[in-house]
Structure formats: structure tokens, C-alpha cells
């Protein structure tokens, strides 16, 4: 197939130049906006009131823009309370969802947005900045995105696109699992803060002068992540089952070509996850370590099973089994990442040490 020849389909040099000149004029007519005074953008309730449009607008903060590659941009890292947060939510995220093309991309975009809200809750928690109002807003925003994810999955099922339903559900599941542990740990810290009035002062730095804890909302959240996780897992399994049930004619051959790629992906994913785990094993607590090892083992078993199914020419089943293995590996990677991130910050910000951990584990078991 002479694909290279297709590359000859292109604009002529003159046409290219012409467009470039038009672009140059356009770019000069629309310069990047100058920074606006901070107080004009910041508001108390940051998530809902600001209506920033993509078209030229009067008040926008300039961001550091880099082409290609991965870097951190000021807005993407911002949290409620930061000056750039409205830009993150109203500009960046709107752009991302607007540009998600196709139903599956849109569903995955909602998964990412739901996850961002969880990250924000965690980050504010570890800084001791999660006040009640912001917490409510973030939780509501998370619920909204999570509902949208479920709606979209349902639409896939109605259209009998069970592969897409399973894929999106799996993505959401991986996200939720990675954050479930972290949020549990943070909730445990909240419970221990309230339960133990004899905490040394360096562990509860936000106590008011009159001795009352000001930290109730610090770590608490009302997210029903565990419930949602159970539901999503059930949805995923149901979709996978339905997917396996249908066997249109000649279908197995189609999957035969794909399945080797998926096997390679599964092996790579497991390798990365195992490497990451070994590298950071010393920093993880026993419970969490055990969980990660169990997941890695299951991921390995999934690959073995997948290979067996390939041998037996049950390609559709092999794809499902191998995808499960990939998701387990992804979960391990994401979970370790969140654990290290959050744990390090909690320890630094709140001066925790291993003795406190043991106390917390006893009072509120993490399982």
C-alpha cells in the first residue's frame, strides 16, 4: 500500500506561504493578553461564578505556554483559592472537553475531570486548607462529572457498544482505586484528630488558642468513593460479559491481529508497574505494600491466562483478560504515585511519624 505517495498530497509552496502570511497578520492582530491585576479575577466561590469565554476577553492572566513535551503550567497545578484556578476550570478544562471528539473521548474527558477534583481535595487536605465551603463545591463538582461518566456509559450500553462501555468504566475504576486509598488515609487522620485530644501540638498545628480543633474539615470529605468504585466495577464486569457474549461472524479473526499488540501492552505495563513498586517499596507501609503486591500478582496471572486464550484462539476473551491485566498495572502505578505524593506532604506539613501512623491504623483500620 503506497502510503508514502499520499504524502505528496500537499499545498504548493506558494499556497503555504500565502496561508502563513495570513496567519502572521492574524497573530499580530491578536496578541497574547497582558496579566490583569489579581484582585479582578479572584473570587470567594471560585467554581461557579466566573464566565470566561474563549473569545477575546478583558480579564485573563497570562500563562507560561510551552509547545510540545510535558511541563507544568501554572494554571494546571492551581487549586481553589489560587488566582489561576478559574482559568484552569473555565478555560483549560472547557477547551479540553470542547475538543474531545467522539463519544468515547468525551466520556474519558469526564473521567479525567472527575479525577482532577479528587486530586484537588487531596492537595488541599494535606495543606490543611480544605475549608467546608470549598470542600462542598469540589465534592459537588466531582459528583457531577461522575454522573456524566455513568450517563455516557449507559448510552454506550443502549447502543450496544459494550467494548466502549467496558473501556470507559475500566478507566474510571483505575482512577477511583488510585484515590480510594489516599482518601481513606486522610479520613483516618481526620478521625484520629477528633478522637485523640492528647495529640502533641506539633501534630495538630491548627488548634485555636482556646484548644478547640479548627481542623475538622481539614481531611474530611463526604465522597462515597468506595461505593462508586463498587458500582463502576460492577458496570465494567457487566459490559465485559455482554461484550464476550456477542460473537458476530468472522469476529475472532479481527481480534487476532489486535491481540498481540494488547499482549505487548500488558507485558510493558506490568514491567513498568513492577519497577515502580520495587523502587519505592521501602517508603510504603505494610498494608499498602501487600495490596500492591496482590495487584501485581493478579496482573501477572492475567497475562498468563491471556496467553492461554490466545493459544486456544479465543481472541475476544484474550483481549478482555489482557485489558484487565493492563488496568491492574495502571492502578498500581497510579496508586503508588498518589501515595508517595500525598504521604510525603502530610508528613511534612503535619509532622507525622511512624508512631502516629500506628495509632491511626489501630483506631481506624484502613481496610
Amino acid at each position: 500500500m503506497n502510503f508514502p505517495e499520499i504524502k505528496n498530497i500537499r499545498l504548493s509552496k506558494e499556497e503555504k506561504e500565502q496561508i502563513k502570511n495570513n496567519l502572521r497578520v492574524f497573530v499580530e492582530k491578536h496578541p497574547v493578553r497582558n496579566p490583569a491585576p489579581a484582585r479582578l479575577v479572584w473570587q470567594r466561590s471560585l467554581l461557579t461564578n466566573l464566565k470566561i469565554n474563549i473569545k477575546p476577553m478583558p480579564l485573563v492572566i497570562i500563562l507560561a505556554l510551552v509547545f510540545g513535551g510535558s511541563t507544568t503550567w501554572a494554571a494546571e497545578q492551581s487549586l481553589p483559592g489560587d488566582v489561576l484556578y478559574p482559568v484552569k476550570v473555565n478555560v483549560n478544562e472547557r477547551v479540553v472537553t470542547a475538543l474531545a471528539i467522539g463519544e468515547e473521548a468525551k466520556a474519558n474527558a469526564e473521567v479525567k475531570l472527575a479525577e482532577k477534583r479528587l486530586v484537588e481535595i487531596e492537595e488541599l487536605s494535606v495543606r490543611g486548607q480544605l475549608d467546608a465551603e470549598v470542600k462542598e463545591e469540589l465534592e459537588a463538582a466531582f459528583e457531577e462529572h461522575a454522573s456524566k461518566v455513568e450517563d455516557r456509559i449507559q448510552k454506550f450500553e443502549e447502543k450496544e457498544n459494550f467494548k466502549a462501555a467496558a473501556d470507559v468504566a475500566a478507566n474510571f475504576e483505575v482512577s477511583l482505586r488510585a484515590h480510594e486509598d489516599v482518601l481513606k488515609r486522610l479520613a483516618a487522620l481526620a478521625a484520629s484528630d477528633n478522637a485523640d485530644t492528647q495529640m502533641p501540638s506539633d501534630v495538630a498545628p491548627n488548634r485555636r488558642a482556646d484548644g478547640d480543633a479548627v481542623i475538622d474539615a481539614k481531611f474530611e470529605h463526604s465522597l462515597k468513593v468506595a461505593d462508586r468504585l463498587k458500582t463502576t466495577e460492577a458496570i465494567r464486569i457487566k459490559a465485559e460479559t455482554k461484550f464476550l457474549e456477542r460473537k458476530p461472524e468472522g469476529d475472532d479473526e479481527k481480534h487476532a491481529s489486535v491481540v498481540r499488540e494488547v499482549l505487548k501492552d500488558a507485558e510493558n505495563a506490568l514491567e513498568r508497574a513492577t519497577k515502580q513498586y520495587r523502587e519505592h517499596q521501602a517508603k510504603l507501609d505494610a498494608d499498602f505494600s501487600a495490596k500492591m503486591e496482590a495487584s501485581l500478582k493478579a496482573a501477572g496471572e492475567g497475562i498468563v491466562q491471556g496467553k492461554a486464550k490466545i493459544q486456544a484462539e479465543a481472541y475476544r476473551e484474550a483481549v478482555v483478560t489482557l485489558n484487565r491485566s493492563i488496568n491492574l498495572s495502571k492502578e498500581v502505578l497510579a496508586s503508588i504515585d498518589r501515595y508517595l505524593n500525598v504521604d510525603a506532604k502530610v508528613r511534612t506539613n503535619f509532622n507525622l511519624d511512624k508512631t502516629i501512623d500506628k495509632r491511626i491504623d489501630k483506631m481506624v483500620p484502613l481496610r
Partner: protein
């Protein structure tokens, strides 16, 4: 002209051919594809000027272009290309002189034309534009796994069509 603007125009030099092809293989009209290419770049600049953070410019422009193509199809529902394709009609511009290709290549193009959009994009991005699966996944907003499936299925279907 500041650095950012210079970078943007450099990006145009690098990407304009690929974006043009992407547009052409969706509308099969050279003039229209030209307009869409220019619009994709100006629209991207609008986003940048408004303060949007762009991580992967290539993926971003592809997405903007695809959105514009979808808008274009919606506006031209009467002469819908999908409808024409279903009737087996060859939706190249009447002239046929706007793109000079060999008869064999024309057959390939017709085959590509008959693929569903997502398969066509995946196959073209991989085998014409030499994009990595990772980059294609970013441009399409789906996982790499899904991209691999689309490439394989697209190629298989294409081989079938070209028998």
C-alpha cells in the same frame, strides 16, 4: 514579533502539510481543505491568545481541525459527504485536477474514503504522518489500546476494499 509568535509560525511550517491532508481526506475539496487548514491555525491561536494552556500543540491543532471539519459537514447537510459515500459516489471535486494523483493512488484514496472517520484518522496518522500511537491517542482523546485497534481494523478493512 515575540518568541511565542515565532514558535507558533514555526509550528505552522512543520505541521501545515499534515493538517492539510487531514482536512482534505475528510472533505475532498482542495480549496475547502486550504480554508480549513488556515482556520485550524487561527482558531488555535485564538485559544492561545485567550490564555489556554496547550501541552501538545500537534494534538491540539488536529483536534481543532477535526472540530471545524465536523462543523463544515453539519452546515452542508444537503450535500452530505456521508450520504454521497453511501451511494458509492466519488466525492472529489468535479475538476479532478486540483489534486494530481496516479490512478493507483486514486484507488487507495477511494478506499480510505470509505473507512469510518475514526479508522481513517488512525490509519492516516500512523502510516502517512508517522505519528506515534501515543500522539495519535492524544489527538483522538482515547487510550492507546483503542488507537491500536482502530489502526489494525482500519488497515484490514482497507485491504479488503482494495482487493
Amino acid at each position: 514579533m515575540n518568541n511565542l509568535e515565532k514558535e507558533f509560525l514555526k509550528a505552522y511550517d512543520k505541521l501545515s502539510d499534515a493538517i492539510f491532508r487531514h482536512c482534505y481526506f475528510r472533505v475532498f475539496d482542495k480549496e475547502k481543505a486550504k480554508d480549513l487548514t488556515q482556520d485550524a491555525f487561527t482558531k488555535t491561536w485564538e485559544y492561545i491568545a485567550a490564555g489556554a494552556a496547550v501541552d501538545n500543540l500537534k494534538a491540539f491543532i488536529y483536534r481543532v481541525a477535526t472540530n471545524l471539519i465536523i462543523d463544515h459537514h453539519r452546515k452542508h447537510k444537503d450535500i452530505s459527504l456521508e450520504g454521497l459515500r453511501e451511494d458509492g459516489f466519488e466525492p472529489m471535486s468535479q475538476d479532478h485536477r486540483d489534486i494530481v494523483v496516479s490512478a493507483e493512488l486514486r484507488k487507495v484514496i477511494e478506499g480510505i474514503n470509505k473507512l469510518d472517520d475514526e479508522y481513517r484518522d488512525a490509519v492516516m496518522m500512523r502510516h502517512v504522518e508517522d505519528m506515534s500511537v501515543k500522539d495519535i491517542a492524544k489527538a483522538a482523546g482515547v487510550s492507546e489500546n483503542v488507537v491500536s485497534v482502530r489502526i489494525h481494523r482500519g488497515l484490514a478493512k482497507l485491504k479488503e476494499l482494495l482487493k
